[in-house]
């Protein structure tokens, strides 16, 4: 599904070019549950922004199914972002003055759906992430874990090909983290591809594939041994 061929990315810092990613090649199949680990500054967020179609400014080739992503213009890139990926952020990134339902329905709005269809779909998804009947609540009245559930609901509302999560448990306590991870696992078991960035060993160990990254280079790529399997 996802095929990266020698992806490089550099930032300009003053007069110097700072290379964040060094020729990364990576293939991820549909249905995988992948964790990307690395210390801060290793380039893992840069990598996941490219994978999640947030960043189209890089060198190398990115094939998504039959699409060559790096050849797309900004409009098609936005459409791909709307329909093929769900993004979950560390700090939830919900629009504060809109209700939970409106936040979740936002991608469908940009996909051009009718309001009535959107409401029905949003209520389904909210139930799926364990927040039934919270359409009209405001995000600020929810706990961190609940807010992250809303963000996950927003990510899966368009039935995307895969989910990308950037430190989804970074702002949560350990108990809530476990609940969120359980939700991701459940989604994955129902067939959703999940790619997440974390620096938490415990979180990473619950996935099926662990990719380690250091100074912009792939360090290791291995199956995760589960104690129970």
């Amino acid at each position: 599904m996802i095929n990266l061929v020698s992806i490089s990315k550099s930032y300009r810092q003053g007069n110097e070019n700072y290379k964040a990613l060094h020729e990364i090649s990576l293939t991820i199949q549909a249905g995988e549950f992948v964790a990307i680990m690395g210390p801060s500054g290793s380039g893992k967020s840069t990598l996941i922004n490219i994978i999640g179609f947030l960043d189209n400014n890089f060198d190398g080739q990115y094939n998504f199914n039959d699409t060559v992503v790096n050849n797309l213009n900004r409009r098609d890139h936005a459409r791909l972002r709307n329909q093929s990926v769900g993004f979950v952020f560390q700090n939830f990134k919900l629009i504060r003055n809109q209700s939970v339902g409106e936040n979740v329905g936002l991608p469908l709005l940009y996909a051009g759906l009718k309001r009535r269809d959107i409401i029905a779909r949003v209520n389904d998804v909210l139930e799926q992430v364990g927040l039934p009947g919270s359409y009209d609540k405001l995000p600020k009245n929810l706990s961190g874990g609940q807010q992250q559930r809303v963000a996950i609901a927003r990510a899966i509302v368009t039935k995307p090909n895969f989910l990308v999560a950037d430190e989804p448990t970074g702002a949560l306590d350990s108990a809530t983290s476990r609940e969120i991870m359980a939700l991701f696992k459940e989604l994955n078991q129902h067939g959703t591809t999940v790619i997440m960035v974390t620096h938490d060993e415990n979180v990473a160990r619950q996935t099926n594939r662990l990719i380690k990254i250091l100074d912009g280079r792939l360090q290791s790529d291995m199956e995760v041994e589960h104690a129970d399997s």
Binding site: N49, L54, D55, N57, R74, R75, A78, R79, R81, N82, Q83, F87, F89, K93, L94, I95, N97, Q98, L106, P107, L109, Y110, A111, G112, K114, R115, R154, T158
Partner: protein, 394 residues
Amino acid sequence: MQIRELIISSFRSLISNKRRSILTMIGIIIGIASVITILALGDGARLAMLKNLQADSGGQQSTQITFSPNNSDVKISGFNNEDLARIRSNPKVAKVTVQSDDHGILSSEGTINGKSLSSLVYLATSANDNKILAGRGIKDSDISIDRPVALVNKSIAKKGYRTIRNALNSGIEINGTTYTIIGVIDNNATRGEFYNYDVVVPRHVFETSNATVNANTLKLTFISGTDISKTTNDIKDQLNQMGSQHSSGSYDFYDTAAMLKGVTMVIKGITYFIVAVASISLFIAGIGVMNMMYIAVSERTQEIGIRMAVGASQKQILWQFLIEAVMLTLSGGMIGYLAGLGIAMGISAFLPFKASVSISTFLLAFGTSTIVGLVFGILPAKTASNKNLIDILR
């Protein structure tokens, strides 16, 4: 995303910042309101003037041609039946009436119950009760003893005293002499074929107090849509060439329409000048809108980032902020329009004319406020849509 959704979401973000939105709108409201006030009053003044000077109550336009003899001591009638028939054959002329001393009819100024009037007076030398509606006619005895009595037509009676009955035995002043109204005659009383008259008084009474009176005036009424000054000029030239008295005097036409055009131009000029001044206020208001939109864009950078991250295209972000700016100015414009109309109506209550409400001023307010929104909203909206997603989300 559908336009409706864009509008709803823009409306909500304006509502969530009520105070700021209203303060920004005030500039637009003042600008539009003052433009509308000036336009409505200026238009009203122009229309009132057109109506007063040019057309009668039926909306018909009329002009006058006067004949002045070269020798002012001689009394000659400038228009004979042949002249009148010729003028009448002009397809643009709806009605021809003549006021000629020779036929005992002339126009006079007068007052009735404090109201001034200009009327055609028929100077009777014998008993007259033609077309009488109420009261009695002038008798031979009235004429022989020079009794100051008058017959007036219905509209003059009503103008002075509201009802015909009140008018009877009341007074009317014509050229400095006061007459008692003894009878009321029909509005379309005529003598001969062309000579309308409004008032009948005994000739001798009239002449003892009026040595000179102006006579020889031709009143032309045109069908609507006629270029009246040109047509009247043509008729005047024709009269000067082949009129019955062209050798013993001259026919003149005082072009009130040309004067009217001049006055109208002045009013229009003043209106445009004030509108130009008022549009400075709109310009400043527009800058206020721009300022507010820039603040909104930078305040809502996170929201823009989130919207982009879930798939909003640049165009959709651009439209969202543009529609927000247009909604702000448009609602300001509509409030301003209503306020302007209200002010104009209020002012015109103290003026002799009414403010005019026209669809064009509404369209002007609508268009101007939309354009202000678009012009001053486009740059902030562009800033919003050109934001780099990665920079926002970092």
